[in-house]
């Protein structure tokens, strides 16, 4: 091999090496720009006055709830619902007169009509009633 051939061979080898280095560099760059999978947000908790924490991550992630709009709570067990409502019928001694001034929530369900005086459910906020096999919640 003469000197000219040897020089060409070295140049080719240098170019090949340079190509490999560039390829590796580009490949390295592409790894660096791959999107990083972020961990799921949360968990997010809200704490009641008893100290118990409740997981509201689902509400925040799926419904965009904002925990700053929650007030304080004594906890979900602080105020039980009315679960054994006693209903009175027309003609009963404690049935209110037609002109009684009271606000009601009322329902006509399957032909049976029932009314619930707001003043009687407001303390508990919820009354759980049943119409035969059908169960309803009255909330105010």
């Amino acid at each position: 091999m003469d000197r000219l051939s040897a020089s060409r061979t070295r140049r080719r080898a240098s170019r090949a090496l340079l190509s490999i280095v560039i390829a590796l560099a580009i490949s390295g760059c592409s790894f660096a720009t791959d999107p990083v999978e972020e961990p799921p947000p949360g968990p997010f908790y809200i704490q009641d006055a008893t100290g118990r924490r409740w997981d509201f991550t689902y509400a925040i992630v799926h419904y965009e709830f904002d925990l700053s709009h929650f007030g304080t709570s004594k906890g979900p067990y602080a105020r039980p619902p009315i679960t054994d409502p006693v209903m009175v019928s027309p003609g009963d001694r404690s049935y209110p007169p037609e002109d009684a001034t009271l606000q009601v929530l009322a329902v006509d369900f399957g032909g049976e009509r029932r009314a619930y005086g707001i003043a009687d459910i407001i303390r508990n906020e919820v009354l759980d009633d049943g119409f035969g096999d059908v169960h309803l919640a009255v909330a105010y």
Partner: protein, 84 residues
């Protein structure tokens, strides 16, 4: 007013004690899920807990003065009051 039946069971619905945007957040004792009446719907949506994403159907109801209701429904029963 809402159905409190889901997956063949009746839930005990109560108040959670919390309000969100001044609207009560409800809660069920059986699964400790939280239920909320989302704007633009008639139903309760479970926003946290076991039934997250599920709904309890809203039931049409009347809210107003007793005299209006009873005039239209003279056979209506009414919750026995502790105050009358």
């Amino acid at each position: 007013m809402y159905s409190r039946e889901i997956d063949g069971r009746a839930l005990t619905i109560t108040t959670s004690g919390w309000t969100y945007y001044n609207q009560h957040m409800l809660f069920d004792h059986e699964t400790e899920s939280f239920w909320f009446h989302m704007e633009g719907t008639n139903d309760l949506t479970c926003v946290a807990g076991h039934y997250a994403g599920r709904k309890l159907r809203g039931v049409p109801s009347h809210y107003g003065p007793w005299h209006v209701w009873v005039a239209e429904h003279p056979d209506s029963k009414i919750l026995k009051s502790q105050q009358r």
